[in-house]
Symmetry: D2
Subunit: 424 residues, 4 copies
């Protein structure tokens, strides 16, 4: 029964910021429009130029985009010689004036351009889309990493945790949002609106997303949660269409069974850790019966690793696959010394521990292909997270339950035996 007035009234007018029409009645190129924008002093004209530049950019072909990025990268770069001068001056006299001169010279001009572009209504989403294009170009034009560094720096600042809004996604959410959830779901595909409804409407299902106020229609990341009795062993059971929903009182476990990033243009800006922590905090407070927070996660690198060991799932019993997967999670390492499996790196980096490994847990085509149907529960034990994070960060220690440790040992034997049987 809290009053939400101040907030809801605020939003009443957010919608009034209708985008300027972006018809290309301005025949200038994106670069020319940006040059005009940089030198423009009239705020209103600035907004129009910014809108025109963004509207123009959106519609041009990859070559013109590449040209624009090169302009940003080269023409709007810093002048290193000037920085040397101002930094030297500042090292001699740390006066405010010298500091400002140094600061002014050491910030690339493109940063200011990005800020000016952002002033147009709806521009933030356009800049996120621009970074998606930039990442695409980066593959063939690695020197654009300089511009990407600057744009990322700005987006990180603007998408600071303090500006994000957590919001529950329900069957009462706007269809326009729900269709984005369907489109962005990256882990367990949603085929129909009925499948979507089964993940949102039952009393024992939840979905939460982070939003940014400047992009209120576009989720940044979302997590799907199942409330269960005990830790589930199979994703098909979780997603089954003939379950009997639990009431809030019966459930004792919250299962994060899918986490999806939505904005390719925000790649590398991590929201997942914050999202999980916030959802754990909120669910703990809303549903005191929920004591266990686990994931039910894919092991996307397992299939390939099996192949590299010259093993195939077909040769192996379910038991053996679970043992090998446990071994893989604990022992297969990335060149960084961290686990080879990217999902494992994410959750372990957040302070979770490897809790249980299940075979025949994902029988979908994708699940069989990626990881021979094996899945893993990572456990978020609030009391151990800080310690886990520290040991993982400093020594690469993988926090593991004794059950999985023992499984991994058996996996080591299987692997030895297998290698003996099928020597390369």
């Amino acid at each position: 029964m809290q009053a939400t007035n101040a907030l809801s009234e605020l939003l009443t007018t957010l919608m009034d910021r209708r985008p300027f029409s972006r018809k290309l009645d301005d025949s200038r190129s994106t670069i020319e429009l940006c040059q005009a924008l940089i030198s423009e002093r009239i705020e209103t004209s600035g907004l129009q130029l910014a809108a025109a530049a963004l509207g123009h950019f959106r519609q041009v072909d990859p070559d013109e985009k590449a040209a624009f990025f090169t302009y940003l990268n080269d023409d709007l770069d810093v002048d290193a010689a000037r920085i040397v001068e101002t930094a030297t001056a500042y090292s001699l006299d740390r006066s405010p004036e010298n500091f400002k001169a140094l600061a002014a010279t050491s910030e690339p001009k493109r940063q200011d351009l990005f800020r000016k572009l952002n002033e147009a209504p709806g521009a933030t989403a356009e800049l996120v889309a621009m970074r998606r294009d930039l990442l695409a170009q980066l593959k063939t034009m690695p020197e654009l990493a300089r511009t990407d560094f600057d744009l990322t720096h700005l987006l990180k600042s603007w998408f600071n945790r303090g500006f994000l809004v957590l919001r529950q996604i329900t069957w009462d959410s706007p269809a326009s949002i729900l269709e984005k959830i369907t489109a962005y779901e990256a882990v367990h595909e949603i085929q129909t609106w009925d499948e979507l409804r089964r993940r949102l409407q039952p009393e024992d299902r939840r979905c939460f997303a982070f939003f940014h106020p400047a992009m209120p229609d576009d989720p940044l990341i979302f997590v799907e949660v199942a409330l269960t009795k005990g830790v589930p062993e199979s994703i098909q059971k979780v997603l089954s269409d003939n379950r009997h929903p639990l009431s809030g009182v019966e459930a004792d476990t919250a299962v994060f069974y899918s986490i999806s990033n939505c904005q390719a243009g925000l790649a590398g800006i991590s929201f997942g850790n914050s999202l999980i922590k916030q959802v754990v905090r909120d669910l703990s407070s809303d549903l005191p019966n929920i004591k266990t927070f686990v994931t039910l996660s894919p092991i996307p690198g397992f299939g390939r690793w099996l192949e590299e060991q010259s093993l195939t799932a077909n040769d192996s019993s379910d038991d053996t696959l679970a043992k090998l997967a446990a071994y893989y999670l604990l022992n297969a390492k990335h060149r960084s010394g961290k686990p080879l499996d990217p999902v494992a790196r994410f959750h372990l980096g957040n302070g979770a521990m490897v809790h249980l490994v299940h075979s025949r847990a994902d029988l979908s085509e994708n699940g069989m292909a990626q990881s021979s149907g094996v899945m893993v529960n990572y456990l978020y034990d609030l009391t151990k997270i800080p310690q886990n994070i520290k040991s993982y960060a400093s020594d690469g220690d993988v926090a593991t339950s004794s059950a999985v440790k023992s499984l991994a040992k058996q996996g080591a034997k299987e692997l030895g035996a297998a290698k003996t049987e099928h020597p390369k």
Copy 2:
């Protein structure tokens, strides 16, 4: 009849970001908390440290605040020698790695601290308050201008026009917002809730404010507007409590009679120009009968200037005062070459023109003291704004109606005569 769902649902959960309790059960100082925060890698602990640091800072005395600012200014400054190195390297090889090294060394560490602090719920308002404290300290510790430069830089980026929300303030707005409007009104004081109501409720009165989504309860700036028939000559008539409100159809003029900034901690970050332009745009579209957009503005420097001319209002007739005020507005110059009067500089810089000058227009104590009761209408003529801005910016030209030009000429004579009469 537009649907606002996406937005209003978004806000449903904004309120769920309840601030961490900020009890000082943590006995560390602000500096120690910030040192911990800088080295912390665990996101959750980071939020708690940030909240604790901000909560602590808010409560300490000015001396401890000064010590904290000195820590920011000195310990978290850039290392100029390192910048020289990395800039030199970059000037030789503009590789992405060299660019990143340069960027990393040239950003003061305090910037990153500010971003980390902002992650805590409600932190943005605390950082704005911190800058207010910083501005206060700056008077006696001018070297803090370095830290102020950095904090201002960040706040400018975060309060980018693209993130602001324009919102109408009405008699249906939350009392908690309205009391802030009352408190922040800086031009024509609001004494009672009845006075406030007279500025909000009648059909021919409007009030608009900019808000930032991270501070939804706190207006940044607001403007009060009267819809009138013809250009008004007196603020007392506008504020009178026995007016007969006009209907939307009768009014042909929108009068901006008061603009107030609300956040001392955002001083120097200008919102007024954007606000006026947006309100002109919105009113034009909502009320097509409104053709004229003017201010009814004080002339705050006129009283002092009169004194400096050894003139007093008492000696002068109303007519004479209007002539002298016109002269003052057009001819009294600041060392920058721009008009001496600060309100004139604001509106002329936005592209308005000096339209009419009225004596006996503000008979309040303050109005008499500041400007002998004289007020001025600045006219916002949408077709002339760009040209006005350019001539004013380049040549300091003050766009002026012929009526005021002629008045100013007569003012010049009066001034000559007066000086002859009362030679110093």
Copy 3:
């Protein structure tokens, strides 16, 4: 930019009226619970009894429902002998006391029971569902018409136009509402969410529904509108999936192409007329370019009538079908003297006129079966509606364009010729 606070704050707490749990831990029958409710004086217990009675009723089989309706019909009827007494007394002395006695005796006790049941949270929707069950029983138990009269009387009062809320349905509406729109669409079936989106999202499509505040998740009636250039001749063109949407400025016509009632339990309580009038009013004010308001309506009785004339569509050219349909609309009469076609009766009763008749206008299976593909535009000409209503009500006059009049005359000839060719 209107403030909607008072309203939206109001709704913040509407949701707090969570229904009592309706577990049947109370073993009493619906009748017993209602008997207890009638004699209960404690408000809180009353709410619980009401909730229990409604929860119970919902779950019992048709036989127990029939028994309950019989109880309402007989046990909670008026006592006619007592009415004769009190009415006689009142005829002799029109004192307030006598009036109250008369009023008390002449209202059936079931009316008060319905009002008591309605006090439970969510009860209004249950009572609407109860009437749906009642209508079903009415077929075999015509004496229940007495109870139906009372329940209808009450629902009419509660669903008074003054309490209804018009609301636009958009692609941003909650999925839970949209699935109801899909389910209730009775004219041109919606098969997929994509089809639904094509009726809501494009700039030239609108959908409006009436809601009652006590049933905020359940539309009562909705109308789908296409904004077009000129009057459309075919529903398939309107619903086509590869149209190019018009902008608001291009469209000059609003086409009501589907009107569906949603609540079987509100049958006989008419909302359609109010809905059309309100939408015409709102669209006129929002989109001044829209000058023409027409329907694109089925002619559901035409197919059967053709058969009765021993004609079949197969025998007839498209031209002939249009002529016969025009003839049918103007000349085939119901025993009431009004047109035989029910959709015609609805729109003519609202003051519309028969504007144009099109063959090959609905090529769907249903459209071909019902009306051999012919459709009709009824025109809502605001200046003529009152006159049309009067002539239609008093004399049964069917307002008709000269084009359709002429078509109908040709239809008469065709019919004559056909009858000559195929004498019965």
Copy 4:
């Protein structure tokens, strides 16, 4: 984190029902407009006539209002002779047709007029205001009780508990609502906005109101609640402006210290009981630490009763006053056999018990005048309410704590002694 979409979207359009302009360009009288409305069959014209009739009525003088009420009372009354006929017919044959004929004749025509009037936007509030006028006329025209009976009957049905919305009033509520709270507060007057704020903003203060969706800006009734540690003994302490607010965890008691009805036109339609019960239920669930629910109530009849006993407060010590007040509450009876004190009747009728009596509990001018500063706590003990209601309803038993029973006995002695001292 519940989603409120369906509801808030619903309200987005509630505001769109702007009232028709009610300019009296229609020169007909209210009666003539209503006659036209009764015979009008065109829905749109009906809305306009209804709006015109209500607009007209609102502005006429009391004499014309009286004439209108007489028209309702006499011309739109039932025809008793016809009722005798139709009731006789129905007693012979309970056919649906006979039932409908009886129902049609036994409902006064004014009822249907009220329903037609209600269809205009904003009409419900006008009808409530009309009843206020009717009650005023009733004093001199008692025969209007017939019309009042009908209007009350309808309003009771429309303001059924199932349609009311409970809503918390906070310092974030719209000023337009808050000014109504201030105006309607009938128990402990609110003088300034600061006083109002002290009742809304502190963490240990609450205010709840019932609203009807057709009058979203107008509370029907509200209750002010203080959360305290222990049962408070003085209203001045509760309202003090230098209290230290308690946190939610510290408080163990909720004190209903003021309940005010807002709509004179809804007199006799009781909302207080439902409001208290709902608030008790909600607070119990939100704040599990709150175990005790009491009022701090005035004893408005005590002062007059004292006088009637030829006693004055001045003669009596504080102790004696408390004893006499206890005696008064338990023993002074209304002709109905229920307690003489109206506030006592209200709370006892709701199932509360007399818990504690305090002297010097209300030192305000009004409190001293009405009840010599004595106040009483009525205790709402959820486990005893049903039993209390029953004994009170059947036997007039006043549930009383042993402390107050004992106090009342001492009061009896004081009274005896006083009467001995001051024999009449």
